[in-house]
């Protein structure tokens, strides 16, 4: 009997999710033993035409990482949705836009202008890349960018979400084990739409640091202090996104002295990640006087970036107003 089919694809991403999968080390052999890998552009050679030729729904499990930045990304998203039984938004880019989603602060024209007029760019004719360009020999094309980067579920129906930038390898291994158990009839798939490979609580729950009632008189910068290694970072005024970020990573970053930047996305039940953090940070400011509050908030030099760093594309507002103007 043939093995169920497996696919993994990357859109506007960085390759970190692929490396995270490879970092399950020997467990990759379990994937090989239980699945027929039919499409994984980074690692094997099937092409879009091969996917197009597959029967609809014939790929049992597809892991999609990367956001939808251009029309090629969207086209393949629809294609793989059609051909896959289970489509997982794998990693922060697919779930919520992740770092490339930060481009949603700016109009896409500005993004291009910046890239093509940097200090070292030699561009006297002020050229920008063209989706279609006639060279003497013929017309050649590249994909067209969308004005706003989107998440996978903003273009196709998604079955499961696996957060993290990237998802931690021990979580990936656990999910692979679960899927294999499901194949063997020993376990059931979670309900559609569930977040898998992560916890239901927040990073604070996994963080080893001591926590007290927070009363912030000043927000600081991690490089300008030698933070107490045993005490909550937010309590020391270092902006840490732990309170609204989903658990599952073992609070790796706060464990090594770095603030949580929120790469595991919203905790269970959070509708808008940035809004939740605004609430949390505002609640711990130790002042009731407007001028003093303002002065304390001046210490947060980039609040929108702090609160929407990984989540802008997946938030309620999705982008800035500037980006919508195109």
């Amino acid at each position: 009997m043939s093995k169920p089919k497996f696919a993994m694809y990357w859109a506007a991403s960085c390759g970190g999710c692929e490396i995270a999968v490879l970092n399950i080390h020997e467990k990759i052999l379990d994937v090989d033993a239980n699945f027929d890998v039919v499409f994984w552009p980074v690692a094997m050679d099937a092409k879009y035409k091969d996917v197009e030729a597959m029967e609809d729904g014939s790929i049992l499990l597809t892991l999609w990482n990367g956001g939808i930045r251009n029309d090629e990304n969207e086209h393949i998203a629809h294609l793989l949705r059609k051909k896959s039984k289970i489509l997982v938004a794998f990693g922060s880019c697919a779930c919520e836009g992740c770092i490339p989603g930060l481009a949603n602060f700016s109009p896409i024209k500005e993004v291009l202008d910046t890239a093509f007029t940097t200090l070292t760019t030699d561009n006297p004719e002020n050229i920008r890349p063209q989706p279609s360009y006639a060279m003497p020999e013929g017309t050649i094309t590249i994909p067209t960018l969308y004005p706003v980067l989107r998440t996978l579920d903003q273009v196709v129906d998604v079955d499961y979400y696996m957060p993290g930038c990237p998802p931690e390898s021990h979580q990936i291994a656990a999910v692979i084990d679960l899927v294999i158990q499901v194949l063997q009839g020993k376990a059931e798939l979670p309900p559609k739409g569930a977040t898998i490979g992560a916890g239901n609580s927040t990073v604070c729950d996994e963080c080893p640091r001591k926590r007290n009632v927070k009363t912030i008189k000043e927000f600081g910068r991690i490089q300008l202090v030698h933070a107490d290694p045993d005490l909550c970072l937010l309590e020391q005024g270092i902006p840490c996104n732990g309170p609204a970020t989903r658990s599952g990573c073992n609070a790796r970053c706060p464990s090594v002295g770095a603030q949580c930047i929120g790469c595991y996305g919203p905790a269970e039940g959070v509708v808008d990640y940035g809004a939740r953090l605004i609430s949390a940070f505002a609640s711990v400011i130790d002042s009731n006087k407007p001028e003093e509050i303002d002065k304390i908030l001046d210490g947060l030099v980039d609040p929108a970036g702090q609160f929407y760093r990984f989540n802008l594309a997946g938030s309620l507002l999705r982008s800035s107003k500037f980006a919508q103007k195109g």
Partner: protein, 488 residues
């Protein structure tokens, strides 16, 4: 006018596309290698606190985030005009050396190496990591996994995570290592040296002792005489983490050596409207198109470039290999692109030796790994050698340390023009009178693959080939022949 479209080239960060045009005689007139992706880091980093740059720029590439993390860390040090304490520098370079071992290993065994170990005319199904295991031994697979595991363990111990490290901040790191961790890292490092030597021996036995392969390496088809760039320390030896950028001319003589802060006086980026990526070149030589030679500003930045640009390796075992490398290939500089594979292994050995050197330094466990910056932040440049080439990060900030402007020149980007030229030369040499055959596909892959473009375009799959589909159109644009390699 006939046209061959190879789309997509997979195994690049994102996607790539090649268009080859033929004239009426069926010979190649031109080749275009297009990059269809843009995310916009230089724009969206503006407005972010500069200490986030080592974290944000990690996400430029999840295969080599360590490279971006280090270049960004050094740029933020420069922005704050702060000197990192010796222990902090050593910890960063230690993490970086272990990462190099992992990355070069992955490329050689699973990506580029199979071409050599199995041979370019080996059956397609064998030209991959499985074929390598059959030929060299079953334990090889286990060793490769072990090396990757060890390398990523070191990254996790010092950097906090296996992918996208988080501990570098302006002035140093957020944590150091204790003696227990130091011992573990040392033990893994010593194993890495043995593994590197084993790999070089395997390369020697399988590749260098085989005349066919050696001929392939030294042959003309993959040769370009360009400038070469790499970071060197104060003794002009290869260093991945710190130093000055040295560029040598096609004849091997030093052309320029500059401090990171002077990169913009030396490098410019050429723009073409048919691709989202730009083509860096040496500003003062000038852009003369996709040609090599001393009058063209095109330069290469790869392991081979680093060996060419330096006077030697800073560690003894690697130095011996360095000398053997050049005496075998006829002296410096070496222009043959396939020799990059060998140079990469010499770097693997150096990285392992450097790993042990750093972890056995008595100050590596010192608690003095961070100096708090006191100066007002302004502007700074950080340069490291990414495995794929020289990596430059340049930030400007306001007085609060919020980024106001950024300029990034990334590893593989340096090689955009050389890769295009290598593809064209391979296509030129092989496609005559409109005859396109299986050989073209593989030889084009090999030209491309040696550079290990970002996620290793070199990677094969288990079946051993990059998916290429070649469509030949007649003068009216009707497809007349479609050839596929490893596509069903």
């Amino acid at each position: 006018m006939q046209r061959i479209t190879i789309d997509p080239i997979t195994r690049l960060e994102g996607h790539g596309k090649i268009e080859i045009f033929l004239n009426e005689q069926g010979n190649v007139t031109n080749t275009y290698f297009q990059i269809p992706e843009l995310r916009g880091f230089e724009r969206f980093c503006v407005g972010r606190p500069v200490e986030e740059m080592p974290l944000l720029t990690n996400r430029i590439c999840g295969v080599c985030p360590e490279a971006h993390h280090m270049a960004a860390a050094k740029a933020t040090d420069a922005v704050y005009h702060v000197e990192v304490p010796r222990t902090g520098k050593m910890l960063r370079e230690l993490l970086y050396s272990a990462f190099y071992c992992t990355d070069h290993t992955t490329h050689f065994y699973a990506l580029g190496g199979p071409d050599f170990i199995m041979g370019p005319d080996a059956p397609v199904a064998e030209r991959n990591i499985l074929g390598v295991i059959h030929k060299v031994g079953l334990e090889i697979g286990g060793k490769v996994i072990q090396m990757r595991k060890y390398g990523h363990t070191v990254v996790e111990i010092i950097g906090g995570r296996k992918v996208h490290p988080c501990t570098s901040i302006p002035g140093g790191l957020t944590k150091g290592i204790n003696e227990e961790q130091r011992k573990e890292i040392e033990q893994m490092g010593r194993w890495a040296i043995e593994f590197a030597q084993f790999t070089l021996k395997a390369f020697n036995d399988i590749v260098l002792s085989n005349k066919t392969y050696l001929d392939l390496i030294v042959g003309d088809i993959y040769t370009h005489k360009t400038y070469y760039m790499g970071l060197v320390d104060e003794n002009n030896k290869v260093n991945f983490y710190d130093g000055k950028v040295r560029v040598v001319a096609p004849d091997g003589k030093e052309y320029v050596k500059y401090e990171p802060k002077d990169y913009a006086a030396n490098i410019a980026e050429h723009v073409e409207p048919w691709t989202y990526l730009k083509f860096p070149y040496l500003k003062n030589v000038g852009w003369k198109g996709f040609v090599d030679g001393p009058d063209s500003g095109v330069y290469m930045a790869t392991p081979l470039s680093r060996l060419n640009a330096a006077d030697g390796m800073a560690t003894p075992l690697a130095q011996a290999e360095y000398e053997k490398f050049y005496s075998t290939l006829g002296g410096k500089p070496v222009h043959q692109r396939l020799a990059i594979h060998w140079a990469r292994l010499i770097e693997l050995l150096y990285a392992a030796e450097r790993w042990v050197e750093l972890v056995t330094d008595p100050e590596i466990t010192s608690p003095n790994f961070h100096a708090i910056p006191t100066a007002t932040p302004t502007e700074g440049v950080g340069i490291v050698e990414a495995p794929r080439g020289t990596l430059t990060h340049h930030y400007w900030t306001d007085e609060r340390g919020v980024v106001t402007r950024a300029n990034l020149i990334v590893g593989t980007t340096n090689n955009y023009a050389p890769i295009t030229m290598s593809i064209k030369k391979a296509a030129d040499s092989l496609i005559k009178k409109g005859n396109v055959n299986e050989g073209l596909l593989n030889m084009v892959e090999m030209a491309f693959r040696a550079y290990d473009p970002c996620f290793g375009c070199a990677t094969h799959s288990l079946p051993g080939q990059m998916p290429l589909e070649v469509t030949i159109y007649d003068a009216d644009g009707n497809p007349v022949r479609v050839m596929k390699q490893f596509c069903s």
